[in-house]
Symmetry: C2
Subunit: 174 residues, 2 copies
DNA sequence: CCGCAATTGTTGCTTAGCCAACACATTCCG
DNA sequence: CGGAATGTGTTGGCTAAGCAACAATTGCGG
């Protein structure tokens, strides 16, 4: 990475992202126009295209950053892969989605797939140092996320007990 | 006025002013360096000099703007020059100084003269439509401000009664 | 279905802001 | 005292952002 160095680039990029974030809080993604974003960011429309391909790339990047930040907040540095760790991760996944749900309200449904994808990527990175190889991390992250997905459909199952059951199964894999 | 139109100019200017405002809230004016301001504003030091002559000009402009804004908040549109109006103006002057005092804490003493100057200018503009000519407005604004200055020294005199005395004297002038 | 309006990308040219380097104060500490 | 460090203005060359105008697409009401 060449590390963005020019302060103008950093500032403008942040202005765009901030504008997008405030807009996404009030209206649906598809309703948001580039013109709106650039006006709120007080930058020229042409400048937008110097930074992003289109608003879908912007969405992709914003979501990635937010999820990354949320992950950093909610996940600790785990030492070993045991029942406590797995339970904590599971609760953290729920927490991340709660937060995103709060933050995006309207547009949430549009993004769930993308969120899922990004979250699994991050999850895998967190698991990697705890297991033998990359495949193990992949299997584990997908399985955990699948468990969350199923829990989310019901929503009334008691979390800790559910997490313990997951842990028992997963720990057999290693 | 040519009305600054380029968005970059407006934005950069605001960044500088914002940076200065946050700094002035924590440390004394003389302690603040241009380098600090530009770093906090995330702009280049050379750019600062494209906008302001030096930090004294910046201070001048910031104070002017703040006082202007405070005036707009605290002064109503007065119809006639009577006791009620004068009392209200006097209370508003006190209010403006309270607010500035809150906001600047440490550096306050450095600025009192400049604040006084700017405030009298604004005061004169407010009085102008209420009196016969410009001289009247000048006399009135200086007199009112002088009254505030004296009241400020004592600080324990009851405001409304004091203001009424001022009004009686001033209204004889017109 | 058509047409009008708005949004989207794209382009050359202009302008504001970035940088590095400079000479010159200033502060401050041994 | 002296020199090392830090802050102040200023400069010229370069880069990002602004603007206006364009064709192409979308979208919506008559």
């Amino acid at each position: 990475m060449p590390q963005e160095m020019d302060p103008r680039v950093i500032r403008t990029r942040q202005l765009i992202i901030d504008a997008f974030n405030t807009l996404i809080a009030t209206k649906d993604f598809n309703q948001i126009t580039i013109k709106e974003i650039t006006e709120r960011a007080t930058i020229n429309r042409a400048t937008f295209y110097a930074h992003f391909l289109d608003k879908y790339e912007l969405l992709d990047i914003v979501l990635s950053e937010q999820i990354q930040a949320l992950m950093a907040e909610n996940f600790s540095d785990y030492k070993t892969l045991d029942e406590a760790t797995i339970t904590h991760i599971f609760e953290a996944i729920i927490q991340v989605h709660e937060t995103l749900h709060m933050h995006c309200r309207r547009g949430y449904n549009t993004f769930t797939q993308m969120i899922e994808h990004k979250a699994k990527e991050q999850l895998k990175l967190i698991l990697l140092p705890l297991v033998a190889n990359e495949l193990q991390a992949t299997l584990m992250s997908w399985a955990l996320y699948g468990a969350y997905d199923e829990w989310d459909k019901k929503r009334d199952v008691e979390v800790v007990g559910y997490a313990k059951k997951i842990a028992v199964s997963l720990l057999k894999m290693v």
